[in-house]
């Protein structure tokens, strides 16, 4: 076993690594190409940064390319992203033209890479039209959708869905997110990388240093929510829950750690509302973190006793996964992918109101043994289900299925 696989085996368990090896045995030399829209920033790039080297370790000829485009292209894809998730946005025809042109140009640039690959993973809407500009393609093409397409803005969806018709399969994170499409729609939840900056084990000194940096008292109880300043994440509800719980846990501190508000007008507005609502309470710490402050977030998650993700609407909610991986019970809103991660009363609690969240916070601080036990169960649950190795195993399963004729039962010799 190579060094990198050994490192994953230590954290994810030998079983899944052995399975990866056995599945990959049949896929050695397979040319696998991933295409997305950025190498840096965002969950997709974060995962591809690890997934592609892992595929290579397993003997596949894996590569990763990005689509390039001008400002109009990215303006279009940002609007497309929002409209496909339900925002009523009208996109001018000129932007759609820029979108298609960028895809046509990228298809020409990548040329034989796209045409000769055995498996092509196209991530998200930005490069989706590439397929229509590759009539000479030989391999199987899979559209991997990381966003929620359950309630798209229909006029934009009608324009967009034509680009999906010829894909051999698609992959969605949850069944709730999948629209009706003609080819198989596989369901693969996202995952976290246990070896990334955001999830590696930190030393106690580093955690303490980060606490000190933000004026947190590491001897007092701490509750944390990490999320953008967005109304769907209900930061005001978190403060309400904190105030209700503090009556019973008087030393309690709250950290609301977010980021990206400076270039997001709505985020800045929500942050102001949150600051006003906190009434300069010295025990409420509202932190604006840089997009790449992964280690800081990691330290805050390690330092917290209880983590909240009190969203009223959520995609998958990888911040929940990250907190659970650090052995923390999570109190989460009863919505989206949070429901799939929090096993109520086992790995945390699902709540529907600030009052519900406060009650659970009180309960956990009143029952420290249970808090510990739930945290351990949460970490195990993530180990078994939400690490990158599991996601890779499912990708390999889909590749095997597609290259073996898509029968209901595929027996490999």
């Amino acid at each position: 076993m190579t060094q990198i696989l050994e490192a994953y085996a230590k954290l994810a368990g030998e079983d899944v690594i052995n399975q990866l090896g056995q599945l990959a045995e049949r896929l050695k030399g397979l040319r696998v190409l991933h295409v997305n829209s950025t190498r840096l920033g965002g969950g997709v790039a974060e995962i591809l940064n690890k997934l592609v080297p892992l595929m290579m370790e397993l003997g596949m000829d894996a590569t990763w390319e990005v689509i390039t485009g001008d400002e109009s292209f990215f303006q279009c894809t940002k609007s497309l992203h929002n409209a496909l998730q339900g925002n009523r946005i009208t996109i001018p025809g000129a932007l759609f033209e820029a979108y298609e042109q960028a895809n046509q140009r990228t298809a020409a640039e990548l040329g034989s890479l796209l045409e000769e690959a055995d498996i092509v993973f196209i991530h998200d809407p930005q490069p989706a039209p590439l397929l229509s500009f590759c009539p000479q393609r030989r391999g199987k093409w899979i559209w991997r959708c990381h966003i929620d397409l359950s309630h798209p803005y229909r006029p934009v969806w009608k324009y967009f869905r034509r680009f999906l018709d010829d894909y051999d399969a698609s992959i969605f994170s949850l069944s709730d997110f999948a629209p009706t499409l003609p080819r198989p729609q596989y369901l693969i939840p996202p995952s976290i990388d246990p070896l990334s900056e955001k999830n590696i084990q930190l030393t106690e000194q580093e955690v303490q240093a980060v606490c000190g940096q933000f004026g947190l008292d590491s001897h007092r109880p701490l509750m944390l929510q990490v999320s953008r300043f967005d109304r769907f994440k209900d930061p005001v509800g978190v403060i309400q829950a904190f105030r209700l719980a503090r009556k019973y846990v008087p030393d309690l501190q709250l950290v609301l750690a977010g980021g990206g508000a400076s270039d997001d007008p709505e985020g800045a507005l929500v942050r102001k509302e949150v600051e006003a609502f906190s009434e300069e309470d010295p025990d409420i710490h509202i932190l604006e973190l840089a997009a790449d402050a992964h280690r800081t977030i990691n330290a805050l998650q390690h330092a917290a006793d209880v983590v909240l993700q009190k969203s009223v609407r959520e995609g998958f909610g990888l911040t929940v996964t990250e907190a659970m991986w650090k052995g923390k019970p999570v109190i989460g809103g009863n919505t989206g992918g949070i429901r799939l991660q929090i096993v109520n009363n086992h790995t945390g609690f699902l709540v529907n109101s600030p009052e519900g969240a406060a009650l659970r916070v009180r309960y956990l601080f009143e029952h420290p043994d249970e808090l510990q036990e739930m945290g351990q169960k949460a970490r195990e649950f993530v180990r078994e289900n939400f690490l990158i190795t599991r996601q890779l195993r499912e990708y390999l399963t889909v590749i095997v299925a597609l290259t073996h004729g898509c029968q209901d039962r595929i027996e490999l010799g």
């Binding site: 096993v343 039962r409 595929i410």
Partner: protein, 225 residues
């Protein structure tokens, strides 16, 4: 020793297989009990397989109080405890095939619809999504020659192997038994007692790791008798 190891002529080694399930959205869903019934009439039987057994190979997201997705949905989305209990007690191993299991599900649901004044509804964000599965089976190249070796191997098998040999096997062996019993019965004599012990394990109420532990105990206690 309570066993006599006699190998039948031409006996084959036990080939340890592993498997992975791929979940596929069918695009069909139900928001109320009547829609669940309508879909069950025609849904592909792989979907019934997935909603009964698939839970073992995917994250156990839901309360293990109920062991199939239909019961869980009845409890948590429809809030119909009676129906959840009736669906929860259905043991898929009692049915000779998935079609009979489908009929039983429909019977139970129709009975509940007959009893109810109103059709129970779920909230729009709690619909039942029908998912089907595709199973990929792969050879681990691990071969076991004797029952004693099998006893030593079981604790080291992956949960995928346990699922494949002890659960999935029942859907494709002739007598609906697991692969361990099928191999012992076909290739050896004198293991009736061990086979009876294995038959007593109810696979429906355990997670796969727990099931592996129970199998380990059965095998090990047999060989130290």
């Amino acid at each position: 020793m309570g066993h006599v190891e006699t190998k039948k002529a031409g006996g084959q080694p036990f080939a340890v297989q592993d498997c992975a399930l791929a979940a596929i959205a069918t695009g069909r869903r139900a928001q109320n009990l009547r829609e669940l019934r309508e879909n069950l009439l025609t849904i592909h039987q792989d979907s019934i397989y997935y909603h009964f057994w698939g839970g073992l190979l995917r994250p156990r997201f839901d309360n293990p109080e109920y062991h199939n997705d239909f019961a869980i949905w009845s409890r948590y989305a429809l809030n119909d405890l009676v129906l959840a209990e009736r669906l929860g007690i259905i043991d898929p191993t009692e049915f000779r095939d998935l079609e009979s299991l489908r009929q039983e599900l429909i019977e139970v649901i129709e009975e509940r619809l007959d009893e109810s004044e109103h059709v129970p509804w779920a909230k729009s964000d709690s619909q039942f999504y029908f998912i089907r599965s595709q199973i990929v089976v792969f050879d681990t190249h691990w071969r076991i020659k004797t029952p004693k070796e099998l006893a030593q191997a079981v604790p080291h098998m992956s949960v995928g192997s346990i699922f494949f040999h002890f659960i999935d096997a029942r859907t494709h062996t002739q007598d609906g038994v697991d692969d361990f019993r099928a191999w012992l019965q076909e290739h050896f004599q004198g293991y009736e007692e061990l086979c009876a012990d294995l038959a007593r394990i109810d696979p429906f109420f355990s997670g796969l790791s727990e099931l592996r532990e129970r199998l380990t105990i059965v095998f090990q206690s047999y060989f130290v008798r």
